[in-house]
Every structure is written in structure tokens, then in C-alpha cells.
């Protein structure tokens, strides 16, 4: 029978914590991506309707969303 390697209890807890961190990061970035998809849809609709006033705000919001995603990604990459 295959023996599973078991480290010390603190190592196991740390590994479990990292998994949780990655999963949380994944969920946050997924929400960010869905929001950005919505922003892009609204932007296209505004462009086609000829309403240009809101487009600047939409680009800024999308940039902020990307920065959040990038921050989460970097945070997760750091915690290896």
C-alpha cells in the first residue's frame, strides 16, 4: 500500500493554508474577470449607442479591476 508522506503538524497546516489562499485568490480573480466582462459589454453597448461620456469611467474601472487581479496574483505567487 502506498504510504502518504506526512510532515509535521505545522507543515501540514501551512500547506492547507496555502491551498486556501490560492483558492480564495482564484475566486476573487474570477469575480474580477466576470465584472470586467460586464464592463466590456456595457462599453460596447455605449459605443454603439453613441454615448461616449461613460466610456472613460468604464476604462478606469476595468483598469482598477485588473490591478486588483494582478495584486491577488502576485500575493498568491509570493506565498509558495
Amino acid at each position: 500500500m502506498r504510504q502518504r508522506w506526512r510532515g509535521s503538524e505545522s507543515e501540514e497546516r501551512a500547506a492547507a493554508g496555502r491551498v486556501g489562499l490560492v483558492q480564495a485568490g482564484l475566486l476573487i480573480v474570477l469575480i474580477v474577470v466576470v465584472s470586467q466582462l460586464w464592463l466590456l459589454t456595457v462599453g460596447l453597448e455605449e459605443l454603439l449607442a453613441g454615448h461616449y461620456a461613460a466610456l472613460g469611467s468604464l476604462v478606469a474601472l476595468s483598469a482598477a479591476a485588473f490591478l486588483v487581479a494582478l495584486f491577488v496574483f502576485k500575493l498568491v505567487q509570493r506565498e509558495r
Binding site: V29, L58, V59
Partner: protein, 161 residues
């Protein structure tokens, strides 16, 4: 050593390889998707900056003054690639709209019997007084062309979206 199943000799597929995409790799992929969506939104903004005309040139509409009440006339405005329609509603009351349906850009026509602008492709109808959608799939009103009358000649002066 266990004997390898016959099908695996021909197709050495290892099921465990499926699990090689880790959560971190998914996160990487999602972050790249986020970058792509941001760039897409920027592209929409840039397109809006490029597409917005600084001003519209005033152009005369030939034969508009000879249009009878209840009749319509097709013309082009603001460029030769932009079909438009002018309708004479009542004595001296003219309206003009872009002829491109806001649904899928079919050419709308003046349905005199119904008193509406109609899109034949998907049965979209627009109010001729305002350009607003009355029925059908179009999501937005027709862009209205602003008109001016000077010495009996009608001029298109701008587009109001």
C-alpha cells in the same frame, strides 16, 4: 509487473496528466484574461475617440422642398456611406433619421400605412416623430438628423444619437 492493457499500448494515455493544470496555473490564466478584458475595454474607448466626429458639415438635401406630405426621401448624411431618410409629416414639418436600424443595420423605410419607420429584416418599428422604438428587436432609437430650412432649402446640420 502488471501487464499493460492492450489499448494503452496503442494509445499511451496517462489519466494523471489531466491533473497537471494546477490552481496556480488557473490563476495565472485568469489574470491574463483580466489583462485581455482590460485591453479590450481600452480598445472600445480608443474606438470611441476615433469615431466621434468633431463636428458635422452642413449639407443641403436635394429635392426635399418638393417632397409631398406623407412622402419620404432617401439621402446620405453625414457621409456618402451613411444612408438617411427624410419624411414630410405635415405641412412644413420634416423629420430625418439615419436609415440604419439599430438592431442589425438593415435599412429602415417609411411605412406610410402604419405611420412608422419600419425595418423589414426583423420587423422593428420606430416612432416617426421621435425615432424611439415602438416594437421589435432594435435596442435603441434611430439617430436623429438635425434639419434647418433656409430660403426653402432643407439642410442636414448634425446627428443626434
Amino acid at each position: 509487473m502488471a501487464k499493460m492493457p492492450y489499448h494503452e499500448q496503442d494509445f499511451p494515455y496517462r489519466r494523471t496528466l489531466d491533473a497537471l493544470v494546477t490552481r496556480r496555473e488557473y490563476l495565472h490564466l485568469l489574470t491574463l484574461t483580466s489583462l485581455g478584458l482590460f485591453l479590450g475595454t481600452v480598445a472600445v474607448g480608443v474606438q470611441a475617440l476615433r469615431g466621434r466626429p468633431a463636428s458635422y458639415a452642413e449639407q443641403p438635401i436635394p429635392d426635399a422642398s418638393r417632397l409631398a406630405v406623407g412622402e419620404a426621401l432617401n439621402f446620405e448624411y453625414p457621409t456618402a456611406d451613411d444612408p438617411a431618410i427624410l419624411v414630410h409629416l405635415s405641412g412644413g414639418n420634416f423629420v430625418a433619421y439615419s436609415q440604419r436600424c439599430t438592431h442589425l443595420a438593415c435599412a429602415v423605410y417609411w411605412d406610410r400605412r402604419r405611420g412608422m419607420l419600419a425595418c423589414p429584416c426583423h420587423e422593428g418599428f420606430f416612432d416617426v416623430q421621435t425615432g424611439h422604438v415602438i416594437a421589435g428587436p432594435p435596442p435603441r432609437p434611430l439617430p436623429r438628423i438635425q434639419l434647418r430650412n433656409e430660403a426653402g432649402t432643407w439642410y442636414a446640420t448634425g446627428v443626434q444619437v
